[in-house]
Symmetry: C2
Subunit: 156 residues, 2 copies
DNA sequence: GCTTATTAATTAACACGTTAACAATATGGC
DNA sequence: GCCATATTGTTAACGTGTTAATTAATAAGC
């Protein structure tokens, strides 16, 4: 058996995890950025960020929800959500008040101005998504969503 | 549970793009976060971020590259890359100098300390990735990578 | 050769992601 | 009721994402 090689004697390829071009983290990042690239200009025209859009959209779907539930549904970490809520409230798109039953909880609700954003952005967003889905293939989108969900829940 | 009372007379479902739980942007985000959740603690132990790891890994793979090429390969925007390069150079993991042929370009090269990071992190990273791939299924990872790549290049 | 346009990189400004620490409120055991 | 503990949300600090503006250097047009 030959003597052990020190790290500096090894070619770097032997140490690398695998080809950078075929790695899940980067592939997921690239796919996500490509998808969001279709939505971002439209959202920017409405002066709203992707995360702000997720929040008001969930409020329109689900009515009153507290911050924890929102963080879970919108997949936004609590500190980010705190800032987003502050911004949306200052802009009058949502309202916020303490839960009477549990003083720790903050209940969120969409405001009329927020509903107008839903009415403005919703159809445009749907149109972009539908076009994307049509180009990729409806069936394949379903398959991809299933595969992504399975990847996301591997460790449960 | 959500029996949504709608804030206005207009049902929001008519305006919403589609079900939030089955949307590509969020599914991609969740999948990516789940995957990175497996790597992040290890990277944190080595006091390195995901993006910094991508940069030094590409330098180990490709030798000298300029900033534009790095931005392309690591999928990092130029302003972020400027900050990452500054940080990595201050920590002595990479070196940086102007291109003699084109004074605008900045050439990057991995430093010995950076190679030690490669030697330390690389095997651990590979082990995590291999385990992940084994649990998800090698074949399915390949299929997923192909589908993600196609999604990322839809508009080309 | 000189002006103009283009390109590479940086800076600025703002929003979000991430971890850790913290304050306020609820809960459970005694 | 009182205390230790757990939970909810916020703040802090730092790194990254994003767009726009800026600087430095090269390339193109004439």
């Amino acid at each position: 058996m030959s003597r052990a090689k020190t790290p500096t004697e090894l070619g770097p390829d032997a140490l690398l995890p695998h080809n950078t071009r075929r790695s899940l983290p980067i592939a997921l990042l690239r796919a996500r950025e490509a998808v969001m690239g279709h939505f971002r200009p439209m959202l920017a025209r409405h002066e709203i960020t992707e995360q702000q859009w997720r929040v008001i959209r969930i409020l329109a779907e689900s009515g009153k929800v507290d911050a924890s539930e929102m963080a879970d549904k919108a997949f936004i970490l609590a500190p980010s959500l705190t800032r987003i809520i502050r911004s949306l409230e200052e802009r009058g798109l949502i309202t916020k008040h303490k839960d009477a039953d549990d003083g720790r909880r903050v209940l969120l609700e969409i405001a009329p101005a927020g509903m107008r954003v839903i009415a403005d952005v919703g159809p445009e967003s749907r149109a972009i998504y539908d076009q994307l889905e049509a180009r990729y293939g409806h069936e394949r989108v379903e398959v991809l969503l299933d595969m992504l969900d399975e990847l996301a829940t591997l460790g449960d």
